[in-house]
Every structure is written in structure tokens, then in C-alpha cells.
């Protein structure tokens, strides 16, 4: 009798645990975290992330350069939930850096992506500098003969 009581208590303790381990709702999606870094592995505070079909751009956290979401809202009113197995395409850009488009297959968990952007190299050595003229060229007189 005593053994039966203990068994009932044990089952009673386990049941709430199973209830808590229920998977997240399908409407929430799986969170995906993107961290944008520069070539020196420092976070780029001004980076933005955007889905190709999306109108808005999402700024990263200016401290650690990260952005996290589990759902995106498209211009046509539809929702794009991140589900395991789907391929996600994002455009990462920042002023002064080359824009990169990357594709990522969403997993069930631990969706953390680090991406580094190369700088845009500005080179003004290719510009040929003009020479200043003295401005001595005068229009020819009307009665002057043209040069031979």
C-alpha cells in the first residue's frame, strides 16, 4: 500500500514536467540570431539586416552587433516564420562596408550566425589631377589670319 502511494506521488511529480516541456507554439517560430562583425571581429554598430522581400531594415544592437528574430512581416501582410529546415535569405549591410547576402538553413535550436563584412576600399590615387592653366588663351581677333 505504501509502495503504491509513492508511485502515485512520483507520477504526479513527473506529469507537470512533461507539460512544461511542450514545444513552442508554431506561430512563434524558431529564433535566429545574427551577429555582424568587421574584419577585426569587432561588432559593427551601424549594420542593418533586411530580407530581400521586406521593406524595412532592422538595425543591429549597437553594442554587440547582434539582431534576433523568429518572424518577419512582409509588405503584402504575410508573415514569415522561421521554422526548422527552412532556408532563410538575408541582406546584411552597413555604411562603408560591402553588402552581403547570405542564406541560412534554420535548425531546431542554436541558430546563431556570425558574419563579417569587408570594408569598401576607396582609392583616390586613380584620379588624375588637372593642371591649372594661366588663362592666357585669348580669342582670336576677327581680322586675324588663322594659324597655318
Amino acid at each position: 500500500m505504501r509502495v503504491f502511494a509513492m508511485l502515485v506521488m512520483l507520477v504526479g511529480m513527473l506529469l507537470p514536467g512533461v507539460a512544461a516541456a511542450k514545444p513552442a507554439k508554431e506561430s512563434e517560430g524558431v529564433p535566429v540570431r545574427v551577429i555582424v562583425l568587421d574584419a577585426e571581429r569587432a561588432p559593427i554598430s551601424t549594420a542593418v539586416i533586411r530580407h530581400p522581400l521586406e521593406a524595412d531594415r532592422h538595425r543591429v544592437n549597437s553594442v554587440d552587433g547582434s539582431w534576433e528574430a523568429s518572424i518577419l512581416y512582409m509588405p503584402d501582410g504575410s508573415e514569415l516564420r522561421f521554422t526548422p529546415g527552412m532556408t532563410l535569405e538575408l541582406e546584411i549591410s552597413a555604411p562603408g562596408y560591402m553588402t552581403q547576402v547570405f542564406q541560412y538553413q534554420v535548425r531546431k535550436r542554436k541558430n546563431v550566425v556570425e558574419l563579417s563584412l569587408p570594408k569598401i576600399e576607396m582609392d583616390d590615387t586613380t584620379i588624375e589631377e588637372p593642371v591649372i592653366s594661366f588663362g592666357r588663351d585669348l580669342p582670336r581677333e576677327p581680322n586675324e589670319a588663322p594659324p597655318q
Binding site: 554598430s45 551601424t46 542593418v48 533586411r50 531594415r57 538595425r59 549597437s62 541582406e91 549591410s93 552597413a94 555604411p95 562603408g96 562596408y97 560591402m98 553588402t99 547576402v101 569598401i120 576600399e121 576607396m122 582609392d123 583616390d124 584620379i127 588624375e128 589631377e129 588637372p130 593642371v131 591649372i132 592653366s133 594661366f134 588663362g135 592666357r136
Partner: protein, 460 residues
């Protein structure tokens, strides 16, 4: 028998070390082709028409050229420096201001006592009678007991026998004529002419101290003290230090420096100097005055251009920037070359100058029709590039300010505005690069970065 393995690296290292000197050839084979000194003959100043020039030479029309120019700037005719393979010219001037060459001293003259000739007044003879010292310093500085000077003490009279040739090669002024000699230094009795009357034949010149005992001629026979000789001979003008060969009686005329012409009426004449950055201060002041007072805008433009060219050739960037800004702001901004050059200069500065870059690039683009052909293509491409890069700098700055500082709507709006500007300018640059078949890589990167949309940039 093979050497042990441990010796192989050592022997390799020795071989490598021995091979090194073979490559270490000196510079000497190239010295003639690439001289270290600016002048073609190796000296710091150049020999032009037989005289040592002051750093420039002139072409057939009298226009100054750089000393090392081998061909004329204006007429492309060969100058005297056309051959780089000439050898060093002989140098016959004074070195380091010292006496170039002192004549050999005469054999020592031993005073002979002449008991009968007691006419010499030894009390007045402290240098009045000398053997030959030209400048007077030598004789006057001698100790009275020195028998070689002819001065005697204790009632002795000296009859010097050393006689010099009449004509000698001397370096006037600072050389043997006395100014270079110190009081008390040994005299050279053989450097001047031999005369029987110790009077006015002289080369004494500038080194003479008034009242110092001196004589010029070599006296023979009984010598009388001539304390006033210095006054009789000191009427020669001060001589220069140019080495000249003169006879004893020659007087070297002073070389008067010509007054510098600082006028600026003839602007064409000033152009060569301005191109070399060699306008004098007086000329620059004159030009500055003309810019301020000139009534015609076209003349102001010409004067200002000369000043800008001079500052650029001199490498005076701050002055160049000041003059260029004044020219574009106050005189004329219709020359796209000037606007382009100024925009390019500003683009090398920080973000604070980016607005200026955009402004002057816009002015240059307004007048781009003055260019043609390949010049048009490269200049317009460069202007679009400068403008897009400047806008990108401004956008970066605004985004950083917004992201890292305290966020506000104003800052966000400012960042968005600069982003839009950067996007427009990048797109214009990209479009022109595509149309003129020039490099589109950086333009595309900027466009995609600022628009955030590759399709926007790739679309026609």
C-alpha cells in the same frame, strides 16, 4: 667519403655568406648617370657661361629655368646641361674662406748690423718699416724683436733683401690682402711689388686697420718709418671675395647687387617663376595688391592663377588652399579644372570637408562641357566618384552618431537624409561608369550599401 650530416647546414651557410658580397655592388658605376647633387657638374651651384650661377639658368629668350634643366621648358631646346656625362669643372675659388694659396716664404733674412747707418730711428720703428706685408696686419703684429720684419730695436737697422716678383696671383680682399690674416701672423714679404718708394702702390684694402703700421712696397736701403702709409693707400674701395687674378696695382671694383624688380605689371613674365614657386615676397605682395585693387574680373582671375600656381609649386598647402578658396568664392568658379582640383584637395580631408567636396564637385559638373574626349570621361567619372564618396562619409558619420550616441528622431532623420543622398550619388556614379564603360565595382558596392537593395542598383 661523405661529410657528416651535421656539417651540411654549416657549409650551406658559409656558401651563402660568401655569395653575398657578389651582389653587393656599389653605387659608383651609376654615379655619372644619376648624380647625387642637383647640378650637372656636381657642385651645389652651377657653372653657367663660365660663371658660378645662382641656382637657375636662362634660355635663349632670357626666361629662367631650373639649374638642372637639360632642355628648355618653353622652347625644348638643349641647354648647357644637356649632357649628363660631363666631368667636374675645375674649382679655383677659396675653400672655406681661407687663403687659397700662400706664396712660399722667402729665405730667412738675417739682420745685418750696419754700424754706420744709424739713421734709422728705432724709437719710431715699431712696424713702420716693413718688408712687404700687404695688409699691414702681418707687419704690425710682429713682435718688435722679430728681426725679419725689418723693425729693429736697440738701434739696429735692418736691410731686408727679400724681393718678390711684381705680379702675383692673389686673391683680393679676404685672401692675401690682409683681411684674412691675423695680427701677429708671420708676414710674407714677397707678396707685393718691389718698389723703391714705399708709397701708394698697394693692395691693402679692407683688412687694413686705420693707423696700423703698414707698408706696401719693399724698401731697399735705409728704411724710414712710414707710419702714415695706411692713410695713403686706404682709398681703394672694399673688395669682394671673388677670386681674381690681378696685378699689384689693380683695383677690384665692388660688385653691386642689382635692385630686385618686384613689379607685377607683366604677368606673362611672372609665369615661369610662379611655375617653379620662386616668386619673391615683394612680387607676391604686388600681386596680392592687384587682386584687391584690380577693376577687371578677368585680370583678377589671371593674377590669382599666378599666385595659386606659385603656392602649389612651393608646396605651401595652406596658402594654396586659401588662394584657391578665394579664387572660387570671390573671383571665378566657371573653370571646372579649378573646381575639380579643389574638390579633390578637400576630399583628402576628413568628414568635415565632405560638404565642400560635394559643393565644388557639383560646380565642376555644371561646367563639364568644357572638357572633351578622354579628359571628359575621366574627369566626370572622378567627380561622380568624389561626390559619392563624400556623401558616403557623411552617411557613415550620421549613422554612427545615431547608433552609438543618444538616439533621437532628429539624428535618425539626419541619417536617413544622408543615406538617401549617398544612394543617389552612388547611383549616378554607377550609371555614368556603366555608360562610359569604366570600372563599376566600387560604385556598385556603394550603391548597394546605401540603398540596401541590389536590385535597385542593377536595374536599368
Amino acid at each position: 667519403m661523405r661529410p657528416p650530416k651535421m656539417f651540411r647546414p654549416v657549409s650551406m651557410a658559409i656558401l651563402a655568406a660568401l655569395a653575398l658580397p657578389a651582389f653587393a655592388s656599389g653605387w659608383s658605376p651609376f654615379e655619372n648617370t644619376f648624380p647625387a647633387l642637383p647640378c650637372q657638374d656636381g657642385w651645389a651651384a652651377c657653372l653657367v657661361d663660365g660663371t658660378v650661377g645662382g641656382g637657375v639658368l636662362k634660355d635663349a629668350a632670357g626666361r629662367p629655368l631650373p639649374a638642372d634643366a637639360r632642355f628648355g621648358w618653353f622652347d625644348l631646346k638643349a641647354t648647357q646641361n644637356v649632357s649628363p656625362f660631363t666631368t667636374l669643372s675645375a674649382y679655383n675659388g677659396p675653400i672655406g674662406g681661407a687663403v687659397a694659396e700662400a706664396p712660399q716664404p722667402p729665405p730667412e733674412v738675417r739682420p745685418t748690423r750696419t754700424p754706420d747707418s744709424q739713421v734709422a730711428d728705432t724709437t719710431q720703428n715699431n712696424g713702420g718699416s716693413t718688408t712687404s706685408a700687404e695688409g699691414g696686419w702681418s707687419s704690425g703684429g710682429k713682435s718688435p724683436s722679430d728681426p725679419s720684419t725689418g723693425a729693429s730695436t736697440g738701434g739696429s737697422t735692418v736691410t731686408p733683401t727679400a724681393v718678390a716678383s711684381n705680379t702675383t696671383t692673389t686673391t683680393t680682399g679676404a685672401s692675401t690682402s690682409g683681411s684674412g690674416m691675423r695680427p701677429g701672423s708671420p708676414s710674407n714679404p714677397a707678396t707685393t711689388g718691389t718698389t723703391t718708394t714705399p708709397t701708394t702702390t698697394t693692395t691693402s684694402g679692407g683688412g687694413m686697420r686705420p693707423g696700423s703700421p703698414s707698408s706696401t712696397g719693399t724698401t731697399t736701403g735705409t728704411m724710414a718709418p712710414t707710419p702714415g702709409t695706411a692713410q695713403t693707400v686706404s682709398n681703394t674701395p672694399p673688395v669682394t671675395s671673388n677670386p681674381t687674378t690681378t696685378t699689384n696695382n689693380a683695383v677690384v671694383a665692388p660688385v653691386a647687387s642689382a635692385p630686385q624688380d618686384d613689379s607685377c605689371d607683366d604677368l606673362v613674365k611672372l609665369e615661369p617663376s610662379a611655375m617653379m614657386g620662386q616668386l619673391r615676397v615683394g612680387q607676391s605682395k604686388c600681386l596680392e595688391g592687384r587682386v584687391a585693387s584690380e577693376g577687371q574680373q578677368t585680370t583678377k582671375d589671371k593674377v590669382s592663377r599666378i599666385m595659386i600656381t606659385n603656392a602649389e609649386a612651393k608646396g605651401d598647402k595652406s596658402e594654396w588652399e586659401r588662394l584657391m578658396k578665394r579664387h572660387l568664392e570671390d573671383i571665378d568658379r566657371s573653370d571646372p579644372d579649378l573646381c575639380f582640383k579643389y574638390a579633390l584637395h578637400l576630399s583628402r580631408g576628413g568628414t568635415g570637408r565632405a560638404q565642400g567636396v560635394i559643393r565644388w564637385a557639383d560646380y565642376a559638373l555644371e561646367n563639364k562641357a568644357k572638357w572633351s574626349g578622354q579628359t571628359y570621361k575621366t574627369r566626370v567619372f572622378g567627380l561622380y566618384k568624389l561626390r559619392a564618396e563624400a556623401a558616403n562619409k557623411l552617411w557613415q558619420e550620421a549613422e554612427k552618431e545615431f547608433a552609438e550616441g543618444e538616439r533621437s528622431d532628429e539624428k535618425e532623420a539626419k541619417a536617413a537624409k544622408y543615406r538617401g543622398q549617398a544612394k543617389d550619388y552612388a547611383r549616378e556614379w554607377l550609371d555614368y561608369a556603366k555608360a562610359s564603360t569604366q570600372d563599376t565595382k566600387t560604385a556598385m558596392a556603394l550603391c548597394v550599401s546605401s540603398s540596401g537593395n541590389r536590385a535597385f542598383c542593377e536595374g536599368g
